[in-house]
Symmetry: C2
Subunit: 129 residues, 2 copies
DNA sequence: CCGATTTTGACAACGGTTTTCATTTTAGCG
DNA sequence: CGCTAAAATGAAAACCGTTGTCAAAATCGG
């Protein structure tokens, strides 16, 4: 049943930024849920297939997930210090990706775009410290 | 000594697109080189640290490397079938990234942009087979 | 309640990467 | 050249996130 899957999604919905599978699993167990790591992975995959969560790879190859507002295509602006995430729509990038692909005769264009930066709060902290 | 490291770089310099460590290792061995996988990894890390090669993660978490023409900032259009790579400059994306970052008060903006598609040759193959 | 189907989860397997550590190679020096 | 210290090398083990296996448990349909 989808009990466990909902539990997994709940975690994501109530999370600020991206979470890893292991991370979610740990929190679920800490919350007292009886769930296995395998099921967390399966739930995450199902959710990602459904477009209910976004998935991306961190620089060290770990998959991280985030519940997104809609199934609409969008990108992320992620604070590299606190992990805070803002969803950003980028018609310009979509078009650019399509264009450069087409210019070189490529078809079935997809693209990954992630923007990293330091958010306002963390910028303040940094300059203070 | 940097003998092995040069061998690794040679492979990359003479390669069209991104290559994986294991891939490079296999070619080196096929070429008759006496080199270990460990050394290939170490060479690749050193090269990447030096900025002599670009490194990125594929969607399935594998690290792939490529010798780049210059240290100039650019992106890649990668054929998801044969791995053929085209370097593309994208002033539009650069500006877009800066803009969305700034809009949300983020500083020290960086971005990762990779475009994937099926190259002309592979598109032909696909429709043929 | 009963059997069929799906879901679950402990555990093993997998695959790429990194570490370990003993051996080999190189550099410095007389 | 011979010697020693330091660096590089590579085979194998360790790591770690992820995926597969398979038997047990939950759920559905009748």
């Amino acid at each position: 049943m989808t009990n466990r899957r909902d539990a997994v999604r709940e975690i994501l919905v109530h999370s600020e930024g991206f979470r890893s599978a292991q991370d979610i699993y740990a929190q679920l167990r800490a919350d007292g849920a009886k769930i296995g790591l395998t099921t967390v992975y399966r739930a995450l995959q199902a959710l990602a297939d459904n477009g209910q969560v976004d998935m991306l790879r961190t620089d060290d190859g770990e998959s991280v997930y985030r519940a997104c507002a809609t199934g609409t295509h969008h990108h992320h602006l992620v604070c590299r210090r606190c992990g805070r995430t803002v969803e950003v729509a980028g018609p310009a990038v979509e078009r650019w990706a399509e264009t450069v692909g087409a210019e070189h005769g490529f078809t079935a264009i997809t693209h990954t775009v992630e923007v990293f930066g330091t958010c306002p709060s963390c910028t303040a902290i940094k300059s203070a410290g």
